[in-house]
């Protein structure tokens, strides 16, 4: 595509996670028109002498300035709940994304703390799944930061048993990695159930 080798596309996808195509049933990558736009932008930067990393950084800046959108968005008016996955391991996020998407959620992925914050602010997800060890342990900070805003349900995950610390930081739930598909989906569903109650209560209080 755009004369960019498939292996390069895959490498960028893994490294920068800014242009993440959806997968077909046969695991083929499907790029949206917007994503193709973004790829064209990245390629143009590289053609004019920028490194791949710089090109992606420029893409992110463009996005913040309101240019090419930085994140994958569903079709307009998509009412499916949005789950943001902040996970450094691309294999783990890829699997979680697949399990959640096939269960009817919109999913966004961030590979480091900076991206996670960016996406959180831009898209206000319903649920955030945070690997506590993302960006060298920055996950704990992310949990408290997002929890304080009180707009999303937070599911903390880690390869170590850190349930207590995660809950104390403000997470609504904790799961030990690797995430088991049924458990993940049912936990997210539970969290959304809770948040729906919280929201309706909040609305009731507002009405009073």
């Amino acid at each position: 595509m755009l004369d960019i080798p498939a292996s390069t596309l895959r490498a960028w996808e893994e490294r920068y996670s800014m242009i993440t195509p959806v997968r077909s049933e046969g695991s083929q990558r499907l790029y949206s028109r917007r994503q193709v736009e973004k790829l064209r932008f990245v390629k143009a930067q590289i053609d004019s002498g920028a490194s791949a990393a710089d090109a992606h950084r420029l893409l992110a800046e463009e996005a913040r300035a309101g240019g090419v959108p930085a994140v994958l968005e569903g079709p307009p008016g998509d009412r499916r709940p949005l789950v943001l996955i902040a996970e450094k391991d691309t294999y783990a996020s890829d699997l979680a994304e697949y399990f959640l998407r096939t269960d009817g959620y919109q999913v966004a992925i961030a590979v480091d703390a900076t991206q996670a914050k960016l996406q959180f602010d831009e898209r206000s997800p319903d649920v955030v799944i945070i690997d506590l060890l993302i960006s060298g342990g920055a996950g704990f900070r992310l949990v408290s930061e997002f929890a304080q805003k009180g707009t999303s349900q937070i599911l903390a995950v880690a390869a170590i048993d850190a349930a207590e610390e995660a809950l104390r930081a403000g997470a609504a739930a904790f799961m030990r990695k690797p995430l088991e598909s049924l458990q993940l989906v049912s936990t997210v569903r539970d969290l959304l159930g809770t948040s729906a109650i919280v929201r309706s209560k909040r609305n009731q209080t507002a009405e009073l």
Partner: protein
């Protein structure tokens, strides 16, 4: 902290401190014919559920139909599990096309998403090595595969036909979390199957070689009996167990052996050692203490005849006979059989006839001593009186008991021998050792009559 999945054999789980590592990579290596496929399938059927199906991938090494055909002969094989989709057999061989290993990764990605297996077995893993252009390529493939499997909640079992030495050098060794090696050892003209854990991340395990057997019940392991010295306190009873020979109880002082004591009866053939054992067992039976006669020579019928001639019967509900031939016997396998009978019967007395047979079944003397120590310790703690009969070739004047230090761990040692008294040859008994009891090392005459063992007076032995 690390969760386990049962291997499908409780005694193997015991060796592994609970089972195979859940969500880990478990490598099973072993020479061809050692049972890697059987162990993998037993594990598969033991753990597959509808929610977390097991995916059994055969590679180019063996056609899937063959694995299935032979697997079906085992009791653990459950066709309904295949029908219900709990166990899914797939042949990944055809995938290994031009792109070889990359295609394997793509296929695995697909399985992890669409099948969502709780278990993935690769049988056998070695074929992947052949598709790697060089070591670096193979290592890169291993890393890529491991990353995928680590990210998913999947327990992996990889089979490979490596010997133990090869396994230590294989690239898979580094990425595996647990490694079980199967081997067939040649001991003299006998073959012995042994299992050894080479690696188990974040956990202890029972070290050394453990015997195993493969039957239609599947894979059965006999953890080597090697209990370390247990210093924890236990109830030392002051109860005495009657020997069944009244005069001998008197001679011992307090009315018999200490409960839970280990007694060694030493003597030449035909002098009456087995008879002492029978007295011990039948006295126990009359006191409602179940007993086990573990014999390697006499079978039930032969033993019944002997018992009958002294007025006893093996029909006694408190008397149990465990008869095994020493041919192709393994001492660990035997001891678990014995311990199972102890569990079933609540036995308080055991007679082993004879120690020499057991010794011949043991691979080496050091191992035998360790094993004997463990058995004696277990019996003592359980308050089980253990009597071991040992045959010696000397008829008179035994100068040395060559028993590899067994008399050391026995609490009591009783010597039976022939003594010349004038022109007559008489039977004589000497207590060589009684732990924690006073005794006089006097030589006593005894006779064998219809009533059994009859202890007589002290002998004035002339030399």
């Amino acid at each position: 902290m690390n969760d386990r999945l049962s291997s499908g054999n409780s005694r193997l789980d015991e060796i592994l401190s609970g089972g195979l590592l859940k969500n880990g990579i478990n490598l099973i290596v072993g020479v061809p014919g050692s049972g890697k496929t059987i162990l993998s399938q037993q594990f598969t059927f033991a753990n597959a559920t509808k929610e977390h199906p097991a995916l059994y991938l055969s590679t180019l090494s063996e056609p899937l139909d063959k694995i299935l055909r032979y697997g079906q002969g085992f009791k653990f094989f459950d066709a309904t599990a295949i029908r219900d989709g709990r166990v899914i057999y797939e042949d990944i061989g055809p995938v290994l096309g031009e792109d070889g290993l990359d295609d394997v990764l793509v296929a695995i990605d697909g399985y992890l998403k669409h099948v969502r297996p709780g278990i993935v077995v690769v049988d056998s893993f070695r074929v992947f090595q052949a598709f790697a252009t060089d070591v670096t390529h193979f290592r890169r493939f291993l890393y890529a595969l491991t990353r995928r499997l680590t990210a998913s909640a999947t327990t992996s079992v990889w089979n490979a036909p490596y010997t133990r030495t090869q396994a230590l050098e294989a690239a898979e060794f580094a990425v595996a979390d647990g490694i079980i090696a199967l081997d067939i050892k040649q001991i003299g003209e006998r073959e012995m199957r042994v299992l050894q854990v080479l690696k188990l991340r974040g956990s202890s395990y029972k070290s050394g070689e453990h015997a195993y057997r493969i039957s239609e019940d599947g894979f059965r392991v006999f953890p080597r009996l090697a209990d370390s010295l247990d210093d924890s306190p236990y109830q030392l009873s002051d109860v005495h167990t009657a020997t069944g020979i009244a005069a001998f109880d008197e001679l011992l002082g307090n009315g018999g052996y200490w409960a839970g004591a280990t007694t060694l009866i030493v003597g030449p053939s035909g002098i009456g050692k087995t008879l002492m054992g029978l007295h011990f067992i039948f006295r126990g039976a009359s006191l409602n203490e179940p007993g086990i006669i573990a014999t390697f020579q006499e079978n039930q019928a032969q033993l019944e005849r002997v018992a009958h001639s002294f007025g006893w019967s093996l029909e006694d509900p408190n008397v149990h006979v465990l008869h095994r031939s020493v041919v192709a016997m393994n001492i660990d396998e035997w001891v678990y059989e014995l311990l199972d009978v102890v569990d079933q019967t609540g036995a308080k007395r055991i007679v082993v006839d004879s120690l020499v047979d057991l010794q011949s079944a043991a691979a080496d003397p050091v191992r035998f001593k360790e094993w004997m120590f463990s058995l004696a310790q277990r019996c003592t703690r359980a308050g089980i009186g253990l009597m071991m009969i040992m045959e010696v070739t000397e008829l008179f004047q035994l100068r040395q008991i060559s028993e590899e230090g067994i008399s050391h761990l026995a609490d009591n040692v009783v010597l039976l021998q022939y003594v010349q008294e004038g022109p007559e040859l008489v039977r004589a008994l000497t207590i060589l050792k009684t732990r924690a009891m006073r005794h006089r090392p006097v030589v006593h005459r005894f006779e064998i009559t219809d009533k059994g063992f009859e202890l007589g007076d002290a002998l004035a032995v002339s030399r």
